[in-house]
Symmetry: D2
Subunit: 474 residues, 4 copies
């Protein structure tokens, strides 16, 4: 609610030895990944080589019901996708899984991430007469695979050959008539995990929480640069070149992923607790209570409380009924809207010095209103602690961040000024150095480019959204 930073997708796939309601499993998995994208979703099922798919705009609960799940029929392989995108870049043609037919058969592709050279790849294909239905870079990946497939003995061989051409972030699941293939870019920007169910079915998902939700157990991460192929002979792995230690997006730990997920070896919940602890160590303040902004600030708040010894409190009630259909009636101020979305428990903060923890500050406006709500409820002091460094740069790898003009950390020179703008008595951010420390068990390096401006791969031009002159309305 308090965040203008958006993840761009979640992917899910299942391979079963026998014919089953695989669409139902993907449905459960997408529910568990819904936080990674709320604008559209889709499921494609393979039943003995015949593909069925259903996609639509909206939440999983809006696109799928008992009948649509049933209409997809049974099968032994299925893939699914949840998608975030801004209005302009939406449209039915962009909803995934991308399902296409090519010379060797059918193919369904679900992609999380963002390529930085999508436009070059497209141009290359267009020069030989290709047509593009969508504005997403996923279609360029599909063209690469299909093109290489003509010269390869298998789809996985085609994938292994084209991965060096794709620059940027891609955690993908790919369904063919007989195989489920997962592949992750050499940097491993976005998470991708493999799980297994008691009945022997294999699951690929963006997060381990989705494996649990689908009734399976986490087996391992798909490694950066890895291609995992699942078919009737089991799982086998192809390793392509990786980029050193890799560079997982640290904001997955800080905000995107579910706290119950374990990514590349590290617990998200634990990483958030540690972020709070670092904040407490580096930016201590005398206070009576530590509270977090629900839901994403709670873990770090608890870490802060634990490290500082200041009691943890429940500061807010979040109205769980506020959704996209909530409208602000005429004659009612924006303040009424915040009042109804987020309500302070006066009991917790009245007459107290409060440490307020949130995961990030983007524009600062919501943050300022929350500080004001606390003061109205009687807080004597409000000390804001943010469990990420200031956002100052763009992301090229699948995160949608406001333009730099809107970022409060770009508009003000120093933290004191920002504290003043949001009305806090003090303000402190997690240090950029600490971003490498919070996920202590993480096997990969991290990417903190949006904070540091240092990116793990060379960026030649600005990130663009809606760069094609084609708007497809819903």
């Amino acid at each position: 609610m308090t965040n203008n930073i958006h993840e761009e997708c979640g992917v899910f796939g299942i391979y079963s030895d026998r014919t089953a309601n695989v669409a139902g499993t993907v449905y459960l998995g997408l529910y568990a990944l819904q936080h990674r994208g709320q604008e559209a979703c889709g499921i494609a099922v393979c039943d003995d080589g015949v593909f069925s798919s259903k996609k639509g705009e909206g939440l999983v609960s809006e696109v799928f019901d008992e009948n649509t799940i049933k209409s997809l029929g049974e099968g032994n392989i299925a893939v699914g996708h949840v998608r975030y995108s801004t209005t302009g870049g939406g449209g039915l043609n962009n909803i995934q899984p991308l399902t296409i037919r090519h010379i060797k058969g059918n193919l369904a592709l679900a992609h999380n991430g963002n390529l930085v050279n999508a436009e070059e790849l497209r141009r290359g294909f267009e020069l030989s007469g290709a047509i593009f239905h969508s504005t997403s870079d996923t279609e360029a990946i599909a063209y690469e695979i299909v093109s290489e497939r003509l010269k390869s003995s298998s789809t996985e061989e085609a994938v292994s050959k084209i991965m060096s051409k794709l620059k940027g972030a891609y955690s993908c699941v790919l369904m063919t008539a007989t195989k489920l293939i997962a592949f992750r870019d050499p940097n491993g920007f976005r998470p991708l995990v493999m799980g297994k169910r008691n009945d022997g079915a294999y699951i690929i998902a963006s997060e381990s929480a989705a494996i649990k939700a689908a009734g399976g157990e986490l087996v391992r991460d798909i490694m950066p640069g890895e291609i995992a192929v699942i078919d009737k002979s089991g799982v086998r792995s192809i390793r392509t070149n990786t980029c050193g230690k890799g560079s997982l997006c640290v904001f997955e730990y800080i905000y995107f992923a579910r706290p119950d997920s374990v990514i590349d070896g590290a617990s998200v919940h634990h990483a958030r607790l540690r972020a709070g602890q670092y904040l407490a160590k580096d930016s201590a303040v005398a206070a009576d209570v530590v509270i977090g902004v629900p839901d994403s600030g709670l873990d770090a708040a608890m870490g802060y409380a634990k490290e500082s010894g200041i009691p943890y409190g429940i500061g807010f009630v979040k109205n769980k009924y506020i959704g996209r259909s909530f409208i602000l009636p005429e004659q009612h101020s924006r303040e009424d809207a915040v009042n109804i979305k987020l309500s302070v428990i006066k009991e917790t903060v009245n007459g107290k010095r409060v440490v307020l923890v949130d995961d990030s500050i983007v524009r600062g406006t919501t943050c300022a209103r929350i500080v004001q709500l606390l003061r109205e409820a009687g807080a004597k002091e409000v000390h804001m602690r943010v469990s990420s460094p200031p956002f100052r740069h763009s992301c090229y790898f699948g995160t949608d961040i406001d333009s730099e003009d809107d970022l409060i950390a770009c508009r003000y020179d120093n933290t004191e000024d920002i504290a003043r703008v949001i009305g806090a008595d003090s303000l402190a951010y997690l240090s950029i150095e600490a971003t490498s420390e919070i996920a202590e068990d993480c096997r990969l390096g991290i990417c903190n480019g949006c904070f540091s401006g240092k990116y793990p791969i060379e960026i030649t031009k600005a990130p663009q959204k809606n760069k094609f002159e084609q708007k497809i309305h819903r």
Copy 2:
């Protein structure tokens, strides 16, 4: 209602000198073409090169409302499409206009008809790595145009070069960033007309009735083999090779088209009257009243009455509220369903010898029920007259006919047997010869392949629907 024969599409396009609510005009046009396809529809608008589109399953009234029309925005060119397809061949990806991006920009294509060599065309492209999103032959046409466009100086030049490769029926409107292009196959299987509005805007449509509905006047037909290009310098025409006199589908006159349309010079209403007159001349019978099955049998019934001198009567009331959402409740027979859809006016037929005129007989079951209804209402004799010859063959050019196994004219050797099956005292069809005579002002030859088995172009294999192993559910 009484017909299992389906047209496959209707197309509409507008080019205006100035920016206007062109989406609204297409909306009106599609309403007037709704009888040509009720399963899906779409509109694409070009505003200074930027394309916006909206497509969906259902009637125009279901897919579009005030907000969606508004969201398409203003523009100066727009195209639209209404689509018929069977369930399996549906899916969002198949809804037109097909909107794509290629090396030279954007393109929107709406197609009525059916190619007989679509599979070969596809295969050729797929061999060079092409991917197909849809199962419709329209995407193959788009690939041909885009591929040729790389070597041509204009889109219309590309169209003119590829028309010889396309075998079958295609009446198309094509929108580029600056032009509206209409093209019709050399046989002219499906109608395509050009109109003009008082404000100077040009209109292309499947039928002249849609031009009227959009506030314009019919200018002329697009000729078989013609490419008409409309842009800021006006209209210009490219003529490619034609196939002799052409071969317009005669069933457009008999059933598909609206009676108020004028196709290739001939009034549809007039052609139907003449079909009734031919029937009266060739198959006279002593009777007291001539009635038609609403709505498509009424014109021919009037022609029969005029020629025979037997009084014309209103024999049925059709329930106009019965739509796709009507369901037959449990414990109610199929007969109840016919009762509620079509009701006899007893007054008209009681105690009389009745000539019953309908446009065609497909399976014969509905026809048999109607004859029975007349008998229950007191008709002494029922003489069935059909304003088309017996259906005995497939159509390869865009009409969806039941399989030969289900066609009553294939299942029974002679007309007497069929009369007996449907319970009529006598039965007569329009002669195959007369099909060439009914549209006396038609400038083209006609195709009556579904009746005669003689097709104007060579057919090498059976027509296939849903031939690709890809089901895309709604």
Copy 3:
């Protein structure tokens, strides 16, 4: 389409000896009565004394589907209602059947007509503490029945006692735990018929067409002043005082009812033919073709043609897809809307002297547009013939007519002026005298108050709609 005069309701009821899908039968019946009211509908089912009901705003096809029919369950009695009302008088509480609980059990009531003393009846009950949920006079009828029921030995006895208190029009079906009761006001303003199905089930309906649609056969009319009681011992009848010969609304024959219905002994189709014949006799004109405005002008046009010897022609195509969801896009004139709703078949009228027949003229604006369309299509002369007299007065018995200020016949002194306003070369109406002649087999007298200003019962005050200060929005 061309008419601003509205019927206010249709009713339907079924009594079966055994438990069956009676809701499904009512559903079929309401489909057949949909023309009598499109704004709301409802069904109530009695299963061994337990009532279930479902009501909603919209067409039968919008309110009911397979699931809702199923959810009503089986039963042995059921009643249904289709409703017309203006926006303000709508609201969920006014939708019928009215289902209530009283001291003796449950009761469901469906009413067609309008009381002229509803306000007095209400006031009487309110003075003793009654509360009203709806603004419809049906609730007052229910209160009368329930109140009398306390002192009576049966519901039918209660009905028989209160009928003298109800002034105005009411054709009702009433369901109790064990009976289906039909009653019709002593004048018989609105039709009400009884039918029977092969399985022994009895049907009550506003029109015989609904009995046919539900698989039954017309048995007889419910007589003015009659109470028909159907229960396990069969049908019995209670006759209360009648008002002379009765006074059936003649506009039921002219416009409201379906042409395939037979009302009080007379065929609606036949009455319309005769209206056309009277017009031809009284207002002959030299012409080349007679055409009717679809659908309600067609029968009278045929009668005119028959009587005059001028050939009948099909003059218009009506777009059957235009429904409530059709919107007129911006930048498009009202004329475009008429163009798309009603299209002239040029072939029929070009270069000809045309007799144009419609059932009525209310405001004259649509009529003027239709005359203009004919001229644009090349008609040399247009002679308008109207199969009813001019509307000049209000109706108090269940028909919703425009206010006198808007009626063209009130605004202009003579027919010549009206002809000029609508652009016709000549204009003639059916004479008031002829209204008593058209339904030659009708056993009742007729009410033509809206034409003549002479009403069969005394009217003390102006008809009011939405007279209560309670607006209930959808």
Copy 4:
């Protein structure tokens, strides 16, 4: 999610000196009260004596949108209601506010609570010919008021006279043409508060959280037995007899109300913390972490942690996208459903002795699954602590509790057995005595009848739901 106990309603009203978007304010208020009822809702607006209303089944977000709020128009008084009811007792007629017309004008009534003598009251009215549209006791209250109003000089006088006749729980808001009247039963079973906005508008609501959400501040509680009248001359109060100290439902503190609400002087959050503290004192156990079941178990868990000194942890992630439209796909077990709704954070519990706190145990099945989830995540011991006493009795005052047959505390003799059934290492409940202590600042006595079986007013017969033989389907 984990609870089968349901509150039956929430009410809201506003009175403004000037005409304003009062419907919009009620909309905001109902959003804040949505937890009190999710099955239906409604708003009624009074604009200068004219009432408009809109009601429907579903959440506030489903029934209301920008257009419906706009269609209600402006006004100066408005009332709203959110409703819980089981399927059978649903139906459109039962949705509140109840809007009726009586001899003195219009009236809209919204009611939270349950009368124990509704059936007697009804019967009395029915004996004099009254008809009932709904099966809710609210209509009986309306009849009482209207009946008394005939003999009284004002509505508030009528209310004051009838309150002694109503036995049971009722916190009501009543709207007349000029007044907003709030009244609460003499026991004060259900909360009811008054607030004020900066612009002078008065607000009545079930909970103070709704006043905040609507932009106002809590002024005071409506007292048991109080009638508060708000009109243009301000607020005045009528006190009727009260029942000693009163008897507020203690389950409002434990579960129903929002933690940010203050009821009769006591903070709900604080009462829950104290419940946890009592549990820790009375049922100490050696453990490593205290976790609460979200959302209602969190406050008590924190109280337990605080009192015991055992660290508080975040044990679960609740999937916020799971709503009524979530379905459990075929071939998936109920366990998969719990997995996806509630997910354990393994990090928090693995290898630890866990104190698990929830607000109540009803049937025990969900509870058993949660304990199992903790064990699967590696918890060494699970000690269940419940912040309410065991449910063993019915509620007659507006809470819907499972039948005694299904209550686990009725089915097993002692706590040890229940602990075994749910799989916990130990189990302890809040003592009945402690229920009187948790809300230390509460000015009223409490009702704990569902735990103790001792009710503050005499109960003569069993509570009944759906006692009338009238099912009204949606």
